[in-house]
Amino acid sequence: MTNATNSQLEVEIAGVRFNNPVWTASGTCGYGLDMAELIDLNKLGGICTKGLSAKPMRGNAPWRIVETHGGMLNAIGLQNIGARAFVADKLPELRKYDTRIVPNVFGYTIEEYIEAIQILEEGEGIHAYELNISCPNVKAGGESFANDARQAAAVTEAVKKAASRPVIVKMSPNVTDVAAVARAVESAGADALSLINTAVGMAIDINTRRPRLANKTGGLSGPAIKPIAVRCVFQASRAVKIPLVGIGGIATTEDALEFIIAGASAIQVGTANFYDPSASMKIVDGLADYCQRNGLKSINELVGSVVVD
């Protein structure tokens, strides 16, 4: 076991200091507290909450998850207690831990994003926001914000105006040109990017001939999508100057290193929390060991160190 507050592992993203680059990903650790019984939250670099909207949301009908080879599909439907309940009921307890709190925020219109941010602005102990822009923009024809560089930029710009804290925009892999969206979002003022959200997928029950998910399609996550995620991080790292947070199938120290070398200043552990709740702890220890063994003063030396000729 290595000391979690090992200064070798400290990273700074958008002016916020994180004890280490290992965060838990939105939707895979509840509101953080839900993991407190299983891992030491003080040892986490950061916690991204389940996506929060201005109003509570009931979520989709079951079934909501299906396991696939190397991953899983989910269509939770963004069930959440709402930003207000988070601030009132979860945040006071959560902020007692020595970690960084990054609420994940979403809406179906720009106004809804702003509303959620305004509620969260009232909360004490929030360090940054992560914008989930993979929701359909119901006012602009139902296309996902993340699918269109202009819409992604528009929501980023609006949120930046409303937010006193840094804004991390979460990219979708379901686009033709992730670099273009990344550039648009950077220009709109994003402080950092996190990538990737899930890839849209589907599974059909061959006996009932029905989609396995009540929502028909769902988001594919887990080791299956890791190569897609590493590629997106690499492409974004060539496209923008703001820091990147890597997500997608990370379950081991080696996975985390791959993303960091590709260009990520921090990483998030998602689906792995489900099948190996201590994955994030092992990665924190593993990265510290790696720095030690390789004589790195700081993990930052690794960020984007991929060699391409």
């Binding site: 939707g27 895979t28 650790c29 509840g30 839900d34 993991m35 019984e37 299983l38 389940k50 009931r58 979520g59 989709n60 009908a61 079951p62 079934w63 909501r64 998850i65 299906v66 396991e67 080879h69 190397g70 991953g71 899983m72 989910n74 939770i76 069930q79 887990g222 080791p223 689906t271 929390n273 489900f274 099948y275 190996d276 709740p277 201590s278």
Partner: protein, 286 residues
Amino acid sequence: MSAFGKIIDAVVPVERNEIVRSGSSRSYGYLRLRLDEPIPVLPGQFAMLKAHGIHEPLLRRAMAFYRQERMGEKLDVEFIYQILGRGTQELAKLAPGDKVDFLGSLGNTYDINFAAGREASHEALLVAGGVGSPAVFMLAEELLKREIPTRLFLGGASHGDLCGLNDFTALLGKERIACATVDGSYGEQGFVTAPLERQLKALAGKPAVIYSCGPDPMLHAVAKLADAYEVPAQLSLEAPMGCGFGVCVGCAVAVKHDCPANSSESFVYKKVCTDGPVFWSKELHW
């Protein structure tokens, strides 16, 4: 500490893993694991299990605790699982000494105090189908310990699908068990709800409570009977589970709630893993 005990995430050794094949061509595994730490294990609770070190499938599988036995400083826990898909197939390969990823104890427990009653005991009617039966064995033990009159209604496709029948018989005695098999190979032919309904009729208003675990169609039928005979029922549900400890919200079940004035919603989604797996049938929005 969760509301119902302690959760540990440990790699534990297999003590025993016995595979049995039923006449109806289904297969079951009887798995015994040894925990270093004797955590509290309550009736109806479950663990998330996975053969240690395998790359596929990724997710652990929810399994109800069947029995527990204190072994000095350690605790042995038993499970009965039906061998279905990739996860249980990997469990079936385990030999003594092999390792299992164990996460437990998870979930809530049955409301046994209800059966105990405020004044006199209710009669406890245990209704289990297929691999639902493991989830009520410790409940039966506890009910007996508290001297609550208990009957078991056990159903399955065939004789071999009446999981744990011998153990239940040793515990409760033959006369308190009514079995039904679809193929008639043991007990009466048909569904377990038939003997249950006869008993509900026979109760003639005597206070009773149903505790049930089994496949969804059985639970629906049980809930209907409970309704018709005005006997409260607790149902132990299944749902596909991503995590088992409340963070993925994959295991949603619709539960009725008193709607706030400004809401048109008549239900909310609760989590089978942490709000359940045991729910009062009246709560469920089916």
